[in-house]
Amino acid sequence: MYKYILQSVEGIQLFGISAFLIFFATFLVVVYRAVRSSKTEMDHAAHLPLED
């Protein structure tokens, strides 16, 4: 029974749900922007290690 003790904390299930929503929103933004990014910019960045 002690396993379920936090169920008595009001709105505890929101912690799990909010965790997922925060992650998913962040993830979508990152993916969207990464996909939209310009190829030349990306190529420049990718070549940085080879330039020294």
């Binding site: 002690y2 396993k3 379920y4 003790i5 936090l6 008595s8 904390v9 505890i12 299930q13 912690f15 799990g16 909010s18 965790a19 997922f20 925060i22 992650f23 962040t26 993830f27 990152v30 993916v31 922007r33 990464a34 996909v35 939209r36 990014s37 310009s38 910019e41 990306m42 190529d43 420049h44 960045a45 990718a46 070549h47 940085l48 290690p49 080879l50 020294d52």
Partner: protein, 713 residues
């Protein structure tokens, strides 16, 4: 166009970290081999050769944390700094911010390692896995880490290259997360110079521990090495990373998801279900960014696979990244509750971590070393052939290590849970399940030794390389000064943050904090929310001293104190564990491996004399046992001068000893010790004058374990 500036890269600091990494690879692995052989020959032949058992400082319990700390913080830690100090300067086109800080960082880090090498065999330990070092060393680690941070961010600020390459984001995330983890895990109440108690108790301590422990793997063993992968794989293959876009998604998704996964170390424990589920869900999601990163690394070799056949550097790197892929697929699988029910507490976990440590960290470090040494010494590698030999010995070593451990893990789990048709445990004597896997332990020791021989060959090869070349302490370079020219409107958003290290730091900090806060903060509620079990009381002074001996000897390395709610466990050990039973456990001692049986319901299972004989020579009570003899406990007089400070420290972290109990504690301790000594006498123990010895305290503690909710006869 700005003027071209001349400057020099500091190679000396890179070499220093590289040499330290190799030296501690030898030390850490040697300790590993030593304890691997102890599981086959418990006293390593000491009894036969010297007529006395293994000295306490060489026992498995005390050396196991030395092995893990040496490999993680000394071998991989120095390897990480080597890789960062070399690549950071070149990616930023700048010498390190301050040579003084570089060397302070180097020497303080070696002092931390030396302190660990001295204190851990002496039994000075907090017992929290990978955070065993006591509080003064924790402070030294903090100082060193801050100096490293100042040096790194100083370099970033005075850089000539505007854009921060993906490797550097990983370095930044590593720095900030390790800082946060280390500080929170180090909340402890000092008792003396060499002893402290965790500020957290029981299940809370467990959650903080595995939030820390898991993310030590994530942010000490993984993110910095991913940074190294993103720099050295393209360098070695001489082509850019496969997809820079993928690296962006990889970075943000990985650091954000990783921080939530810790609770998968506590499945089926007394941790609330919702936290366990959160840990499982995020662990499974972790496959995506992990494999995204792995594929990004491997696909960097597109069109260059033919070179992998010849180039030892690429060979090491390819196997490293492949091992990373295997370990990061396995990890999420192990986080599924039904799989974890099988793997947890068994050698499966040991196999899993060694694929990561030997394969991913070990091989990537060797790849980078083989890449750097010829370049810094301005010569060719002394022998490609020896490097190949090292590679094959290492690869075979990993296989000979991992396969027997997988087999051992599955064997353990099957035997622990096997019932006869009549419904009784088929392997009721735990020891039988240990003896069954001893041949596999022997094979593992062979595998580890193979890997070790490979490392020795590597050291020889690099020493010869150094001897035939001449070291470039300061490598000349030139680059235009950083121009703050206007950036086109509507530029790609991520470029914006790539130019701003402080914003990058802030964004990483926010992302990695969310997971910790959401999981750990509600657990703070628990103090008021958890109904105390009325019969659960704080430890008596004698039991407390016994518990500290249990911690000192590293018993937690082989014995868990957590009965999971499975029939196989409740039949074997007794009633499954409840959160309320552990509220005075600073620190918690659930452990993560059962080389021996669980001890949570050990109290009152056997008479005092059983423990007395068993601790003196385990084979008298359990023939075939691989537990070491603890004869020292029968000679050492229990130090009761610490009792007062211990009671005081525990009260400060919330254990309800009455005010002023310190003064009475030692009288209670002596009275209880006398009682144990009388019990021993009445049970036929001939030795006299035992009541002031350490063994009595340990027996008192063992007999208390898990008895608070048992119905007393």
């Amino acid at each position: 166009m700005s003027q071209v500036q001349q400057f020099q890269y500091d190679n000396k600091i890179v070499r220093a970290f590289g040499m330290a990494s190799f030296i501690f690879a030898i030390v850490g692995m040697l300790v590993g081999i030593l304890i691997a052989f102890q599981l086959i020959y418990p006293d390593l032949g000491f009894q036969a050769a010297f007529g006395k058992p293994l000295p306490a400082f060489l026992t498995f319990g005390r050396l196991r944390p030395l092995h893990t700390n040496a490999v993680i913080f000394a071998f991989v830690g120095n390897g990480m700094f080597m890789g960062i100090y070399y690549s950071l300067q070149r990616l930023l086109k700048a010498r390190m911010f301050s040579d003084t800080l570089s060397w302070l960082h180097f020497w303080l880090w070696q002092i931390v390692i030396l302190s660990a090498a001295i204190t851990l065999p002496l039994g000075i330990t907090t017992s929290s896995e990978y955070a065993e070092l006591e509080w003064p060393i924790d402070i030294l680690i903090t100082i060193t880490w801050v100096l490293f941070g100042i040096n790194m961010f100083g370099t970033i600020l005075k850089r000539r290259e505007e854009h921060l390459y993906v490797a550097i984001w990983f370095y930044i995330a590593t720095w900030v997360t390790v800082a946060v983890l280390h500080i929170v895990r180090s909340f402890e109440m000092p008792v003396s110079m060499f002893k402290s108690y965790s500020a957290f108790a029981g299940v809370q301590d467990g959650l903080v521990q595995w939030w820390y422990g898991h993310n030590a793997v994530a942010f000490f063993l993984t993110t910095p090495y991913l940074g190294l992968m993103y720099y050295y794989m393209p360098k070695a293959a001489n082509r850019p990373v496969y997809s820079y876009k993928l690296s962006i998604v990889h970075f943000w998704a990985l650091i954000f998801i990783y921080i939530w996964a810790g609770p998968h170390h506590l499945l089926y424990s007394t941790l609330p279900d919702w936290v366990q589920s959160l840990g499982t869900v995020f662990s499974i999601m972790l496959i995506a960014p992990s494999w995204g990163g792995m594929l990004n690394g491997l696909l960097t070799l597109r069109g260059a696979w033919d070179r992998v056949r010849e180039d030892a550097v690429l060979k090491f790197m390819v196997v490293a990244v492949t091992a990373y892929g295997m370990a990061t697929f396995e990890g999420p699988m192990l986080s599924i509750k039904s799989v974890n029910a099988i793997s947890h507490f068994t050698d499966w976990t040991i196999a899993h971590v060694h694929v990561g440590a030997l394969g991913w960290n070990g091989f990537l470090t060797f790849g980078v070393l083989y890449y750097l040494w010829p370049r810094m010494y301005n010569t060719q590698l002394y022998s490609q052939k020896l490097a190949n030999t090292h590679f094959w010995l290492g690869t075979l070593g990993i296989i000979f290590y991992a396969v027997p451990m997988y087999w051992a893990g599955w064997t353990q789990s099957l035997k622990w849970t096997e019932f006869t048709p009549e419904g009784i445990l088929k392997w009721g004597n735990f020891l039988d399940t240990v003896i069954a896997i001893k041949p596999l332990y022997a094979l593992r020791a062979v595998g580890g030794s193979l890997f070790f021989v490979g490392v020795l060959i590597g050291v020889y090869n690099l020493a010869k390389t150094a001897a035939q070349g001449s070291f470039l302490s300061n490598e000349a370079a030139e680059a235009p000064a950083r121009s703050s020219s206007a950036h086109p409107k509507g530029e790609y958003w991520h470029r914006w943050i790539e130019r701003r290290p402080m914003q990058m730091l802030l964004a990483s900090t926010i992302l990695i904090s969310i997971g910790g806060l959401i999981q750990i903060l509600p657990m703070v509620f628990m103090d008021s929310q958890i109904p105390k079990i009325s019969t659960v009381k704080p430890y008596t002074p004698l039991e407390l001293q016994g518990r500290d001996i249990y911690i000192r000897e590293g018993c937690v390395g082989c014995h868990s104190q957590l009965v999971r709610p499975f029939r196989g466990e409740t039949e074997r050990y007794g009633e499954y564990s409840k959160s309320g039973e552990y509220i005075y456990d600073h620190p918690f001692l659930w452990g993560s491996k059962r080389t021996g049986p669980d001890l949570w319901r050990e109290g009152n299972k056997y008479p005092d004399s059983w423990h007395y004989n068993h601790m003196y020579d385990p084979t008298t009570m359990s023939p075939g046992s691989i537990m070491p003899s603890y004869t020292g406990l029968f000679e050492n007089v229990l130090d009761i001068s610490t009792t007062e400070a211990k009671i005081g420290a525990l009260r400060k972290v919330g254990v309800p000893y009455p005010e002023g109990y310190e003064q009475q504690a030692n009288a209670d301790l002596t009275a209880q010790a006398k009682k144990v000594a009388e019990n021993l006498k009445s049970q036929g123990i001939k030795d006299t004058q035992m009541e002031d010895k350490e063994i009595v305290a340990l027996i008192a503690y063992l007999q208390r374990l898990g008895t608070d909710i048992k119905i007393k006869k």
